[in-house]
């Protein structure tokens, strides 16, 4: 004798739950194979569930009106049959053997119950085939190897991730169980894996059992010693790029009253447009990125709202409106943060803008940016997306009216025509000098930039 648990199956192609309409049996009733035990109502239909076992009903889970989740136990039948049967036959598992995860009580079988008159019980050659997958699953857990200090977690406890990310981690020899997930509900994202693969990041240090703790990291334009190896206190001279950055930030922060606005934008069309442009001959050798489109959008915004392209001249008691955009791009270089600009950016088409931005960034990274390239910035972009953040409240480069931070572009639920759909969403956050620019103008400008990203093709056409 053994008890078999019947779990609510998906009776209708992708259903997740069902409501109990009527129990046709009670605990203690003797039931035969395929005898209707319960009526359930799914989103699609009211259906009768026939018993896969012959025997005695030992439990009925759920009252009439209860909504049961697919996979949850619905009833238990103690199967009639001799001991040999119950020991040998395991072919009544409710899920296919290779996917059985919870129905694992191992014994049990109603199959042998002779419901037929005049026919012998069938050969039991099916049993080994049914048991094989389970056996292999039991031995599948290898002894933890030295480089992998985390034993494979049981299903359900393993870090949640997506198949492409798991594949990515596997291809790079990283056990995803060692990665700390920063996504929603602890989901391990691709960025988490990338961080874990970059030796200098804290995640990787933790994940590799301290083996990476000796790595150095970059700070204020130089390599500094690791947490473990460095002195308890370290003093670094403020020189060079660090000095100019710090002075500029202080000057800006304590002269221009900063205020901020931000907007979330559906950038799917931008992403699609860039994908379609990627192989266009006119753009051969030029990398057009979402940042390029933001640059175009900001120049367009400045044409519509010239006040945004302005600065406050403290000494002259004047506000200076400039009808030429020198578009600064904040570049994170090995030596620190510098902001070269594209001169006359409002005059450029998409391809030229992309080429000039690329060149500026390349020069900045190579350390060949000229002082002239950093002078006269009127509007600035800072791209915080690569750091996997959504937004920032950036500090204005001195003498400029506005700076826009571009967050990461990530897929997110978005409402289109009252339907929640997956779109590429980006946040644009902008700091502005509140001395001459008010919240209304700032909002109009950032909204304009946002609309540009939402339909870049139209915006580029209409110029």
């Amino acid at each position: 004798m053994s008890e078999k648990i019947f779990e609510l199956p998906d009776v209708g192609e992708g259903l997740v739950e069902a409501e109990i309409v009527e129990w046709k049996v009670a605990v203690g009733d003797v039931v035969s194979l395929n005898q209707p035990l319960v009526d359930i109502e799914t989103a699609k239909a009211v259906v009768e569930l026939p018993s896969p076992y012959a025997g005695v009903v030992r439990a009925c889970h759920g009252e009439v009106g209860d909504v049961m989740t697919v996979g949850s136990p619905l009833f238990v039948v103690e199967v009639a049959g001799d001991t040999a049967d119950t020991a040998d036959t395991a072919d009544t598992d409710l899920a296919p053997a290779d996917s059985a995860s919870s129905d694992d009580d191992g014994s049990a079988p109603a199959r042998r119950t002779p419901v037929l008159v005049g026919y012998g019980v069938e050969q039991e050659d099916t049993t080994p085939a049914r048991r094989r997958p389970r056996a292999s699953r039991e031995v599948a857990t290898p002894a933890p190897v030295a480089t992998n200090t985390v034993a494979p977690a049981p299903v359900g406890l393993a870090p949640r991730s997506t198949p492409p990310v798991r594949l990515y981690a596997k291809q790079h020899g990283l056990d995803i169980a060692t990665v700390t997930g920063t996504g929603r509900d602890g989901l391990v994202t691709r960025e988490d894996v990338e961080r874990a693969l970059t030796p200098s990041t804290p995640t990787a240090v933790m994940g590799r059992g301290g083996s990476g703790a000796a790595a150095t990291s970059r700070f204020v334009g130089r390599d500094i010693a690791s947490w473990r190896d460095g002195p308890l206190e370290e003093r670094i001279p403020v020189t060079g790029v660090l000095r100019s950055m710090s002075e500029a930030m202080v000057r800006s922060a304590f002269t221009a009253p900063h205020a901020a606005v931000w907007v979330r934008v559906d950038a799917t069309r931008t992403v699609d447009l860039l994908a379609s442009l990627a192989s266009h001959p006119a753009l051969a050798g030029v990398r057009v990125s979402p940042l390029t489109v933001v640059a175009m959008a900001m120049c367009d915004g400045a044409r519509h709202y010239p006040g945004i392209n302005s600065s406050f001249d403290d000494e002259a008691h004047e506000v200076v409106v400039r009808r030429r955009v020198n578009l600064g791009i904040a570049a994170n270089t090995p030596r620190g943060l510098i902001v070269p600009n594209v001169k006359g950016a409002d005059q450029l088409d998409l391809a030229s803008m992309a080429a000039q931005l690329n060149e500026l960034v390349d020069r900045a990274r190579a350390g060949t940016t000229t002082p002239e390239a950093m002078a006269g910035t009127t509007l600035t972009i800072t791209n915080v997306g690569p750091f996997a953040v959504d937004g920032a409240v950036p500090v204005l480069p001195p003498g400029t009216g506005a700076i826009v931070a571009v967050g990461r572009i990530a897929k997110a639920p978005w409402v289109v025509d009252d339907q929640v759909v997956v779109r590429h969403v980006v946040e644009l956050s902008m700091s502005f000098d509140h001395r001459q620019i008010d919240g209304a103008l700032a909002s109009q400008f950032i909204a304009h930039v946002g609309r540009f990203l939402e339909d870049p093709a139209l915006a580029l056409l209409l110029g």
């Binding site: 019947f6 779990e7 199956p9 998906d10 009776v11 209708g12 192609e13 395929n34 699609k44 239909a45 009211v46 259906v47 009768e48 569930l49 026939p50 896969p52 072919d91 009544t92 598992d93 409710l94 899920a95 296919p96 053997a97 290779d98 996917s99 199959r111 419901v115 037929l116 008159v117 005049g118 026919y119 069938e122 099916t126 085939a129 049914r130 198949p163 492409p164 798991r166 594949l167 596997k170």
Partner: protein, 354 residues
């Protein structure tokens, strides 16, 4: 029925009915054979429905009520003929020798077909509505070009009769006088849409517009189905071209296991059709005209139980295939896109650690 041209030679009460053109050519043993077929396919269909409810099949399309239409047509086929079903023709599959185990493989999602069509001269289930009708006509045109003395048969329903594919197939069959027999099982319901919404004339009248004969048969009369189909197949083999046979029948159960027919049709209608049951009328004929004993009939019931029992055993023992085999038969020759899909699937499977 309301139509005078309705071919019926066995009434729901099991009485012979005279028809000016058709009479039964079958003797006692042959009629008993048809009875056996119908009882067995009904029983295995019940078992399949139970297996689906128990989580062992992803889906099932029950045939109850349509046994005579399928067995009559299926038994009229000759060995060399070729048939193209939709997804409910388990009775025809049975007649072609497809094993119940093979029939259920696609419904358990362990196969994209279930059997080798050439083995049984019977194609695999086609779920895309009406597709198989074009396949059949194309095959029939091939038969013509081979000069083979074979006929082709295809099955579709009242719902699929509204598909463009079916209309095109009719055009081609007529234009080339292709040796094909169209079996339209009008089971009155295209899921939840009644046949009256599909057409303003009897469906078999449509054949006239395409220029080939159409005939409506009592689809619950296995003797009539057999005789009408046999004649149509003979006509096709002998160069007489296509025929449309509308088997006027009723789907007693749900469209599929995902469907709840009580939501769109009244019980009274089902009750009416219970009195037209295809199996009971043959049982009555065997009992009253051929004086067969209860015990003889019971052997069939027992055999059906054994078939159902074996089917359950076989389904529970099915192994899941290697996921990569799903790419094996997309095209006859390697195709770069399919190979890319196979590679990506392999990577995905590998990423699952299985």
């Amino acid at each position: 029925m309301e139509d005078n041209e309705f071919v019926q030679i066995l009434t729901p009460e099991g009485q012979r009915a005279a028809h000016p053109e058709y009479e039964s050519s079958l003797g006692r043993d042959e009629v008993f054979g048809l009875y056996r077929d119908m009882v067995i396919v009904r029983r295995l269909c019940n078992e399949a429905t139970s297996l689906q409810r128990q989580g062992q099949l992803a889906l099932w399309a029950p045939l109850q009520g349509q046994e005579a239409a399928q067995i009559g047509a299926g038994r009229a086929l000759q060995a060399a003929d070729f048939a193209f079903p939709s997804y409910r023709e388990h009775g025809v599959a049975w007649c072609r020798g497809v094993t119940p185990k093979e029939m259920l493989r696609i419904f358990r999602a362990v196969s994209t077909g279930g059997w080798d069509p050439q083995t049984y001269r019977y194609s695999v289930p086609t779920v895309v509505l009406g597709d198989q009708v074009l396949h059949a006509v194309g095959y029939a045109m091939g038969v013509q070009r081979d000069g083979a003395h074979e006929a082709v048969m295809t099955f579709f329903g009242d719902g699929a009769s509204s598909q463009g594919d079916v209309m095109e197939a009719f055009v081609w069959a007529a234009s080339f006088n292709a040796p094909v027999v169209f079996i339209l099982q009008n089971n009155q319901w295209a899921i939840s849409e009644p046949a009256s919404l599909q057409t303003r004339i009897p469906l078999y009248h449509r054949a006239q517009g395409f220029g080939f004969p159409g005939v409506r048969v009592d689809g619950n009369d296995v003797l009539a189905m057999y005789e009408v189909t046999r004649r149509a197949l003979d006509l096709a083999r002998d160069g007489g071209g296509p025929t449309l046979i509308e088997a006027y029948t009723y789907r007693m159960g749900a469209h599929t296991t995902s469907d709840d027919p009580t939501r769109y049709r009244v019980d009274a209608e089902v009750e009416i059709w219970k009195h037209r049951d295809p199996v009971e009328r043959v049982k009555a004929l065997l009992t009253h005209e051929y004086r067969m004993k209860r015990a003889a009939l019971d052997t069939v019931t027992e055999e059906a139980e054994a078939v159902a029992h074996q089917l359950r055993e076989d389904v529970l023992a099915m192994d899941s295939p290697d996921p990569l085999t799903m790419f094996d038969h997309v095209y006859a020759t390697p195709h770069p896109l399919v190979e890319r899909g196979r590679r990506e699937m392999a990577e995905f499977v590998a990423s699952q650690g299985r």
